[in-house]
């Protein structure tokens, strides 16, 4: 990866974060929070996106962001009122900026006029209510900073009397962090000079000997005098916005009249001072070579037209640091490649297994003989568990990263359906393993779509039913034991059970004479090939139904539950494991070999001697359980293994495959439940039919994970053939 690519990757990472922030800030603004800090944060975020985009030449993005920024700037200054329409426009624009960023990232081209309408609205807003600012006509101008030199000659700097311009005194003292972040005061001053006529005076605070000279040390502050008709304090502060916190700044305004009176004598006085004491900043270090120090001071006083009154007492950089002890010097967080974290997670997984292997080796004889060893192993067990928790916490992420994609989705959906929908989120700081989060986005999107499409009614229908016009979809997340519960609720019409059941019968999902409880009918919406949309809408009717949600969630060891209240709403709940790295399984034996079955797919276990088997014409067996006939698969014969176990001593494990279909697996013995780390077989070998992967047991041996779903489908295929 070239350097540029790396920078780009970092930029896109940052963009994702900034877009999240934008989304967050604007939803607060939309809820009526008009705190100035929010606007500033929004402005900074857009500005950063624009700045980086400019550096990489993403012109379309930059042009749009620039117009957006200009609008925000006016809003911030109060020139444009932040009304509902402006907020809506801004929120839509965030989506467009996100699209521009995504297009820049993937290298795809968007339509040439993409976002043109919104951009025109920005420009109209900006133009319609305020005189066009110079940069409105040339939106890119501030990117190509090309300034004429600022006049610093004393005579010309002297203001013309009573020209009505206010005089601003700005004291600017950088802190060392300003230089560490690669900011250059010169650029700031140039920007400031655009506001009006400006004079800059260097105020060296303490010049050390050259030998002690730190490149990033602070040895000089500046006094600036700005004469301008238009400048406001906000405008001046804005120039320093990006160094906020990295400098000490003091802005004072003098009225035009008194400025004229004061300024002239003070300038004269300064000039006097400069003449009288041309080398004001004396070297504090006596042993320093005098001529070098003088040269430095000379250089400084040359660049400044006049040297201000005697420098304040020597203030080495360290005092600035110690004066702000609370200020974080380093970064509070670091970016780490996920691969690296995964490697640590895997290794800790191994450590946990090795540790439990050691514990298993301990028998009573060892316990009696080597008490110290046993104690050590106990401590090791605790530490290992702590380490595992800590490592998993590194990879844990708040569900916010998934939830935050939903407001946009809901906006789009409500735009397309004409329904009014409000989205509420609760518990978005609940943390889940990143691997789970990644698998969560699609199912959640589908569920929200489903709620918007089938749940929430049209505004007219809602009013007729005495409900508020705006429907609500509520996303919530909470931790419950070793699981995360994520719920999507809506206050819509609920599931139309008659229609669902009729459709399910028509499509053969349910046998004609089968009686189902209300709950069972509700859960039919997750059955494969089932979609209640009577006409295919472009929102949720994409040929895939909610069964995709179920299979995705099952894949990560979770479950889905739906509860519907007719006329009042629907609640769909996802129960997810905290992490994908660890799977809860039942350990079984078939012909002496260990196999594990994911606990999430097991319904119940029955001893063979108590099971009610029947024989089919093909010789295959079926199991009757609570009025249902379930296919029986003997894992020993299915895997071509020889079992020495008596049939009556074996066990039936009743499992649930996709779409509520069941399968009964016959195994030799049930060892117990445990947690395992999933390992891939395909990494070094190939996919094996009926096996979902492998795992390493406490004794170091490999156990195979039974793929319930594939056993079910291949079996069905065999029966058909």
């Amino acid at each position: 990866m070239s350097d540029l690519d790396e920078f780009k990757a970092t930029y896109f990472d940052e963009c994702s974060e900034l877009l999240l922030e934008l989304e967050e800030q604007f939803s607060a603004i939309q809820d009526g929070d008009r705190e100035a800090g929010r606007l500033n944060a929004v402005f900074r975020a857009i500005h950063s996106i624009k700045g980086g985009g400019g550096a990489f030449g993403f012109d379309a993005l930059v042009r749009f962001a620039h117009s957006f920024e200009t609008l925000l700037d006016y809003v911030r200054e109060g020139r444009i009122e932040l009304g509902e329409d402006v907020v809506v426009l801004c929120i839509r624009s965030i989506d467009i900026v996100a699209d521009f960023v995504a297009a820049a990232r993937s290298g795809e081209a968007l339509a040439a006029d993409y976002g043109a309408e919104e951009k025109a609205q920005f420009d109209a807003l900006a133009r319609g209510e305020v005189a066009p600012a110079p940069d409105d006509t040339a939106p890119m101008e501030d990117f190509d900073i090309d300034f004429t030199p600022v006049a610093v000659d004393l005579d010309s700097a002297r203001p013309a009397p009573s020209d009505g311009r206010a005089l601003w005194h700005i004291d600017f003292l950088p802190l060392p962090t300003l230089y560490e972040r690669a900011n250059d005061p010169l650029l700031l001053f140039r920007e400031l000079a655009l506001l009006g006529e400006m004079q800059v005076t260097a105020r060296p605070t303490s010049i050390p000997a050259l030998a002690d000279f730190e490149p990033f040390g602070v040895y000089c502050g500046w006094a600036l005098e700005l004469r301008s008709e238009t400048a406001t304090e906000a405008a001046i502060r804005e120039v320093f916005e990006f160094v906020e916190g990295d400098c000490l700044i003091d802005i004072a305004r003098q009225d035009a009249a008194e400025a004229d009176e004061d300024a002239v004598p003070s300038f004269a006085a300064l000039a006097e001072l400069a003449k009288a004491e041309p080398r004001a900043p004396r070297a504090p270090e006596p042993e320093a070579p005098a001529d070098l120090t003088a040269m430095l001071a000379d250089a400084l006083s040359e660049s400044a037209p006049a040297v201000a009154a005697p420098p304040p007492p020597s203030r080495p950089a360290e005092t600035d640091e110690s004066a702000n002890p609370g200020r974080p010097v380093g970064m509070a967080s670091i970016r780490v490649d996920l691969d690296k974290v995964d490697r640590v997670v895997n290794m800790v997984g191994e450590l946990v297994i090795t540790q439990s292997m050691l514990t298993q080796q301990m028998d009573d004889a060892i316990r009696d003989r080597y008490q110290e060893l046993v104690r050590g192993l106990e401590v090791l067990a605790q530490t290992t568990r702590g380490l595992q928790d800590a490592v998993m916490a590194i990879r844990a992420q708040p569900v916010k990263s998934v939830f935050s994609r939903m407001p946009r989705l809901v906006r789009e959906l409500s735009g397309r359906t004409g329904k009014k929908i409000r989205l509420e989120t609760i518990g978005e700081n609940t943390e889940i393993d990143k691997t789970v989060i990644e698998q969560l986005s699609d199912p959640l999107t589908h569920m929200v779509r489903n709620s918007a499409d089938h749940g929430i009614e049209d505004p007219a229908a809602r009013l007729a039913m005495g409900k508020p016009e705006t429907g609500t979809i509520r996303l919530s997340a909470e931790q419950a034991g070793g699981n995360i519960l994520i719920a999507v609720e809506d206050d819509g019409q609920g599931i139309d059970r008659e229609r669902v059941l009729a459709l399910a019968r028509k499509r053969g999902v349910v046998a004609p004479d089968q009686q189902l409880t209300e709950e069972q009918i509700d859960n039919l919406i997750f059955a494969p090939g089932f979609s209640t949309a009577s006409e295919v809408s472009d929102i949720s009717g994409r040929g895939v139904g909610m069964d995709v949600v179920l299979s995705n969630i099952k894949k990560i060891g979770g479950s889905v539950h739906v509860r519907s209240f007719v006329g009042k709403g629907t609640r769909m709940t996802l129960r997810l494991p905290l992490t994908l790295a660890v799977l809860d399984v039942m350990l079984v034996k078939v012909a002496g070999c260990p196999y594990v079955i994911p606990l999430s797919s097991i319904v119940e276990t029955i001893q063979n001697s108590r099971a009610d088997f029947g024989t089919m014409p093909s010789g295959g067996k079926v199991l009757q359980v609570r009025g249902e006939y379930v296919q029986v698969v003997d894992l020993a014969s299915r895997f071509a293994l020889e079992t020495g176990e008596e049939e009556a001593d074996r066990f039936v494990v009743l499992c649930e495959a996709e779409g509520n279909s069941k399968i009964a697996l016959v195994v030799d013995d049930i060892i117990g439940q445990q947690q395992v780390v999933i390992k891939s077989l395909e990494e070094n070998y190939e996919r094996i039919e009926g096996i979902a992967g492998g795992t390493i047991l406490g004794d170091g041996n490999v156990a195979l994970i039974v793929d319930v779903q594939s056993l079910k489908s291949t079996n069905a295929h065999r029966t058909a053939a």
Partner: protein
Amino acid sequence: MEALGIRDDYHDSTAATSQNALQLIAFSIDEQIYGVEITTVREIRAWNGATPLPNTRDYVRGVINLRGTIVPIFDLRARFGDGKTNPTKNHVVVVMSVGDKWIGILVDAVSDILTVSRDDIHAVPEGNSIDTELLNGIVTHENGMVGLIDLAAVVAGARTDA
């Protein structure tokens, strides 16, 4: 024998010694010596059982746990069509990398590290398709014949036949 770990960095120093030299790990199956290029070998360990895989070819003995990674073990004798090895603690698994995958092959014993010249590699005589498929060539070493195993063919066969 179990801890004869051979690492990547070993490769760098030996490859530079001579352009034409080829270093082999030699192992035996039924007294016949075979070899694989030393740079592909990752580890040599004693046979300690493997978890059998269902629904796969009989020359795949199963999978083992190699420090947290699941590695398939190919029974080379069975791959040659001479029936399954009846492994004891004295049998050896040579773990190597083929492409981006790690595999183990079950052999009777590891005998030596050989240095041969690339010029001494002879083509496999036409005849039996198993020979031409599984051997890359034959080299002579101290008047003995060493068959160069084509690891890719050993692994690939499992995929097409399965």
